[in-house]
């Protein structure tokens, strides 16, 4: 297998690897509400692990249990081999970067960063030195004497990061680390975060609701829904091979066609859909009874759009009328209405400039849609 | 660790509440004591309540106090609202610092000083212009208005400061002249603040002993002045009865007001929820 060569980067594929953070059967209830529902999770040394989900999916609760602010109702949490389930936050070898940053308003930047070291009784000289180093790393040396309210949002974010990292935690927990930043700053900070993580080799556990952020940052993503993991995998796995319709829709967008399996073998499946009347040929097998109801998911950018009908292949073909064109400059999104009225979304790169003010595909054009057998996924739930 | 802390907090809370309420509870219990000597229990009785209702002196004092309280509350609310408006919405004007000082100072000024200075003012005015010829209900009311309006001004000020100015700006943008905006927008929004200011002024006036003692004249005894002259030298069972009535009236009032406020708040939350679900239905 080709994965074999990449084993070093992907400890989760190695059955022998010792997980650094081990969450086993953790449930958290608040009254009658179950925020986290019997989850298991292994995070490995050096990972940049993202927990992704909508609000109320339990991702923040899980993070808070790792930090020690909430105790699990049942289950256990091990960090670096030690049972942390009931250890208070101030005795855990992890630190957290808060969504609001939670900078102490009455202390200067320097004092904020030094706070944790003082609590550990590190000697004065060393505190000074480590704080200075850390401020240099986040490029805030000249702001050391300022109070948090005298800083911009991005600077505050870096103070929060420095404050959490200066203690050299075994793992850094980040709650929506970029949530409070504007879009431009966010893009820049993403890469800074990745660089810092790379430099220090600290395990990062990030909670976010922003899928783009999760895709860029992570080694692995855990998509959460209603207190459970919907899927855990690398960004590529999550995007290209979603396991459920929820995941397919949550990360990016996907066109769904409902149908029944008419042919199922080891290397391909044929799915027949009545509305729109069409046959789908997918080049991976699913072990499921013939005739079962399934969904075929196709990403908008994997669909070819053309004005003339493609010659070969009878499968993976639809035609319809363009109802909307969203011109984004680099790409255009077409909303194509197919036979039964369903809208299919197609994204197409604009490789050539419009000629005489006219785009290749425009409103009310009749177009043909097609895709490769390898471009679609069959989903059973 | 957290357990220990919350146990500590809980015990201090219980102690504090007991500290606040136990004296009042005993006051109430002893009002039902038959014995003439308050501390000696002589069996349950309503004797002192009957005595209280028969006392013309107490009725007179109560009526006087209520009259003063009503006038005070009304005028103090008016003046205090004007002062609050001036402070928040009028920006800089000449003598603003002095004005701010004069509004906050009465809140913390020791009563003996306020009382003494007002009395000396009334005497001086009496000598100079012949008014006030006699001290009594008028002088007490004026004194009460002076410190009550400061409380109202502070309430109005904080309400105005919390109120987004864009409502008023929107009204102006839609063509409202400043006076219309004041009447149509600002005052209605201030109404709850004015109500609490009125209630506060009313109670402050009913509660005041020191200032009234200074500025009152012969024959004008407010209820606190009467109570004070009776209890100075020791416990009086009929005063226990009076205290019980006052405590019960106030408690019922405060609890009812609190309940109403809570219900209003819940209603608003429900309305908002309904509005939200309606929106979802419409868009779906």
């Amino acid at each position: 297998m080709s994965e074999q060569t990449q084993f070093d980067d992907r400890p989760w594929l190695d059955p022998e690897a010792e997980p650094f953070i081990q969450v086993s059967g953790v449930t958290k209830r608040f009254g009658t509400f179950t925020a986290v529902d019997n989850v298991d999770l292994q995070i490995y040394q050096g990972e940049l692990f993202c927990m992704l989900g909508g609000s109320g999916c339990g991702k923040t609760t899980l993070l808070r249990m790792l930090a020690g602010f909430d105790n699990p109702t049942s289950g256990s949490i091990y960090i670096d081999g030690a049972d942390m389930t009931d250890v208070p936050p101030y005795e855990r070898p992890v630190n957290m970067m808060f969504q609001s940053y939670a900078l102490f308003p009455h202390m200067t930047v320097e004092q904020n960063v030094a706070y944790g070291l003082k609590r550990d009784g590190v000697d004065k000289q060393e505190i000074l030195q480590r704080v200075e180093e850390m401020l240099k790393m986040v490029e805030l040396s000249q702001f050391a004497k300022r109070k948090p309210h005298q800083l911009s949002g991005g600077q505050r974010q870096r103070v929060a990061l420095a404050r959490a990292l200066v203690k050299r935690p075994k793992a850094l927990l980040l709650d929506e680390p970029l949530g409070a930043l504007d879009k431009r700053l966010r893009a820049q900070t993403q890469y800074e975060l990745m660089n810092i993580q790379d430099q220090l080799g600290v395990t990062f556990v990030v909670v976010t609701h922003d899928q783009e952020e999760a895709m860029i940052l992570s080694t692995r993503i855990a998509v959460m829904d209603a207190g459970k993991f919907a899927q855990i995998g690398t960004p590529t796995e999550i995007y290209e091979s979603p396991e459920t319709r929820f995941v397919a829709n949550f990360i990016g967008s996907a066109n769904m066609f409902e149908g029944r399996i008419t042919e199922d073998s080891a290397d391909h499946v044929v799915v027949r859909s009545s509305d729109p009347a069409c046959e789908f040929y997918i080049d991976h097998g699913v072990s499921i009874k013939e005739g079962s109801k399934v969904w075929v998911a196709v990403r908008p950018e994997k669909i070819r759009v053309s004005v003339s009908a493609p010659e070969n292949a009878a499968a993976n073909q639809l035609s319809g009328t363009v109802r909307d064109v969203g011109y984004l400059g680099n790409t255009s999104t077409y909303r194509v209405q197919v036979a039964d009225g369903q809208i299919v979304e197609v994204t197409h790169p604009n490789q050539s400039r419009p000629r005489g003010g006219k785009h290749a595909v425009d409103w009310d054009d009749v177009v043909h849609l097609s895709w490769e057998p390898s471009s679609a996924v069959v989903l059973t739930e | 660790m957290g357990k220990k802390r919350s146990t500590f907090l809980f015990s201090v809370l219980c102690f504090g509440m007991a500290f606040l309420y136990v004296p009042m509870i005993f006051l109430i219990i002893y009002s039902f004591n038959y014995s003439k000597i308050v501390a000696v229990w002589g069996g349950w009785s309503l004797r002192w309540y009957a005595e209280l209702f028969r006392s013309q002196e107490i009725w007179d004092a109560l009526v006087l106090s209520l009259k003063i309280a009503l006038m005070n509350a009304t005028f103090a609310t008016l003046l205090g609202t004007l002062a609050g408006l001036a402070l928040v919405r009028f920006g800089r004007f000449k003598g603003r610092t002095l004005f701010t000082g004069m509004i906050t100072a009465p809140l913390v000024m020791p009563e003996v000083i306020t009382g003494l200075s007002l009395l000396l003012l009334f005497i001086t005015l009496g000598d100079l212009i012949g008014w006030p010829g006699e001290r009594g209900i008028t002088t007490i009311t004026i004194a009460h208005i002076t410190f009550s309006m400061a409380y109202v001004a502070v309430i109005i000020q904080s309400r105005l400061a919390g109120m987004a100015q864009d409502l008023e700006e929107a009204a102006m943008d839609l063509g409202g002249k400043p006076f219309r905006v004041l009447v149509d927008i600002t005052l209605p929004l201030l109404a709850p603040g004015m109500v609490s200011g009125w209630l506060l002024s009313f109670t402050l006036s009913l509660d005041d002993l020191v200032i009234a003692s200074f500025v009152s004249g012969p024959g004008a005894n407010t209820l606190p002045m009467l109570i004070y002259s009776r209890v100075r030298l020791g416990l009086k069972p009929d005063i226990n009865a009076l205290a019980t009535i006052i405590i019960v009236v106030v408690a019922v009032g405060v609890i009812a007001a609190g309940y109403l406020m809570l219900r209003q708040q819940k209603q608003r939350e429900r309305d908002m929820q309904m509005a939200a679900t309606d929106t979802v239905k419409v868009t779906a």
């Binding site: 930090a67 | 907090l9 004069m102 700006e169």
Partner: protein, 308 residues
């Protein structure tokens, strides 16, 4: 955008400044000027007059001499009298001592209560707040009176202790400084709790979590985060107790009797029993001087608070 709008509003305001707008400012202004500021000037004036056995019992300050010249006569006798009679000095010092200790007691009791209220669930919070405010709406005088019943020689506490057999004869509690402390703490503790509560309510709970996350134990978190961040509330509450307690009259009069020297009571008696107006006025002016700094600090704290 908003600055343009507010500039526009300011212009409108300016244009309409005349007429009804000046009434809004002037009516309360004049009222406070006549009934709050002017009286102080009169007190100041009388404190500089000579006391006479007459009505009014003081010498006029301005006098037309026979030649038709207006003369101003200032007498500092009243102030030197206050200074020379060590009863007054002692009383001022004792008032400050009593109000300082009472303020600290209020803080010690009020702080954890305010903290407990902030930490409770919304419904409990409302009920507890109402319970703190409720005594404030009942008569202050009657609340002091309630303690007379508890503390008297034949009062509830003594009777109870005798009945228990803890003591044989009643302990003397009334007419002592102890009784005054109890009275002041009892009546003023809500004034400590409410500003503290308002301050703590704004405190961001994640700051506590951040401190714990960085290795601070609960006690350290309290000392390094909670306490410094609640200092504005502590200051406001302390001043709200200290200032009126220093000039308090009812509590020392009813619970302290003649045994406890407090300046409010001395002033009241000087005026109502001794009819020595100039001395009473001088006592008031000195008291005002003692309190003017705390009052200014309070005003400063308040204005900073209201501006956010």
């Amino acid at each position: 955008m908003s600055s343009i709008l507010s500039a526009y509003a300011a212009q409108l305001q300016h244009r309409a400044q005349s007429g009804w707008r000046s009434i809004v400012v002037f009516v309360p202004y004049i009222w406070l000027f006549v009934f709050f500021l002017a009286p102080f000037l009169i007190v100041l004036k009388i404190s500089l007059a000579e006391s006479l056995i007459a009505s009014p019992p003081f010498s006029p300050l301005f006098e037309w001499t026979e030649e038709g010249v207006l003369t101003l006569q200032l007498v500092f006798d009243n102030y030197s009298y206050l200074w020379e009679d060590d009863l007054y000095v002692k009383t001022y010092l004792n008032s400050i001592k009593i109000s300082t200790i009472s303020t600290m007691l209020c803080l010690i009791l009020g702080y954890p209560i305010a903290y407990a209220i902030v930490r409770s669930s919304p419904t409990t919070k409302n009920i507890l707040l109402m319970m703190i405010i409720l005594p404030f709406w009942t008569s202050f005088l009657l609340r002091v009176y309630a303690w007379m019943g508890l503390l008297a020689d034949q009062g509830t506490i003594n009777s109870f202790l005798v009945w228990l057999g803890v003591i044989d004869a009643p302990i003397r509690m009334m007419y002592s400084e102890f009784a005054v402390y109890v009275g002041i703490v009892y009546t003023y503790v809500p004034f400590m709790i409410l500003p503290l509560y308002a301050n703590m309510e704004k405190l961001d709970i994640t700051l506590h979590e951040a401190a714990a996350d960085l290795g601070a134990r609960p006690v350290t978190t309290f000392l390094t985060i909670t306490l410094p961040l609640t200092s504005p509330g502590i200051l406001a509450g302390s001043l709200l107790v200290f200032i009126p307690a220093t000039g308090e009259f009812v509590i020392p009069d009813l619970l302290g009797g003649g045994n406890v020297l407090m300046i409010g009571r001395v002033l009241y008696n000087e005026f109502n029993s001794n009819h020595d107006w100039p001395v009473a006025a001088a006592v008031a002016i000195v008291l005002l001087f003692v309190l003017v700094i705390p009052m200014m600090i309070y005003q400063h704290v308040q204005s900073r608070e209201s501006e956010g």
